[in-house]
């Protein structure tokens, strides 16, 4: 289920949308990866594999579609404080995780949306094939 949803569904959506975007000569595709795309997290073996897979997919799509005005990128948050995120990282587990993030807190959904909004804009035409970490420095230390 993890690879089906996190990786395969993202590819098939990108493929179907990409056909339209290529014909139109413009498009922006952004996939939610995760800090788990670049580091290992205990108990997250399928999740980490699926998110790392998104990076490979993104590189190839960006290469094949760049000349047609279509950019393809990933954003990789740390824990995001959605209702589900708060539930999954409540208590001591969350405190320990938060302590390891240099900025000392989890990300807000609005911060992720703003990054995606930037990548989706016309100003971001030169950014493609990238994975942008939005993790408060977690994966860098």
């Amino acid at each position: 289920m993890t690879l089906d949803i996190n990786l395969s569904a993202s590819f098939f959506m990108a493929q179907a949308v990409g056909r339209q975007m290529l014909a139109a000569g413009y498009g922006r595709i952004i996939s939610l990866a995760s800090q788990a795309s670049v580091i290992g997290l205990a108990d997250h073996v399928a999740y980490c594999a699926s998110k790392a897979g998104l990076l490979g997919m993104t590189r190839v799509l960006s290469l094949e579609w760049a000349r047609s005005g279509v950019t393809v990128n990933c954003v990789s948050p740390t824990v995001v404080e959605t209702p589900l995120g708060k539930l999954a990282w409540a208590g001591a587990k969350g405190d320990a995780m938060r302590e390891q993030i240099p900025v000392g807190r989890f990300a807000q959904p609005e911060e992720i949306a703003a990054l995606i909004g930037y990548l989706a804009g016309r100003d971001a035409a030169m950014i493609t094939g990238e994975n942008i970490l939005i993790d408060g420095g977690y994966a860098s230390v």
Partner: protein, 165 residues
Amino acid sequence: LRSSAGTADRKIGRMSDEFSDQIVIVTGAASGIGLTVAAYFADRGARIVGVDRSEDIAAAMAALPGRPGESGPAGKSGPAGESGPSGESSQSGESSESNEPGVIDAQGANSGGHLGIIADLTVEGAADRIVEQVVAEVGVPTILVNSAGVALLDPAVDLSARAWI
């Protein structure tokens, strides 16, 4: 980066027309990051197509800021994929809901021109059917945000094949 829109700001109305000529498909848009992303683009004038396994997608799209003076896409229903898992979730996720998944047009609720599609993205051909419908009813999408996802946690030695695949 631009500053983000807070919930309070969003209730005031649209923030800009930055994406007013854009059609944005967001998967996993009924909740969590996907919903916030949908609201971000709607706040800036985009027409949103939200895709989710959850029936909540209709209400979620209806609650987004609309595009004044524009009617939404023609309301109709049609198959886009079976109802099933697609949202970020730690559930094991086999849906017991209807096997007649369809498409819900949220236009009637807010005239915002946004569309909610209930779909299981793991069904073969679902993505093609979704995009075909979007092109026919809304237009050619210019932005795709893949936000649907699951996190099923287990030590590697215990993870089931079903959870992996």
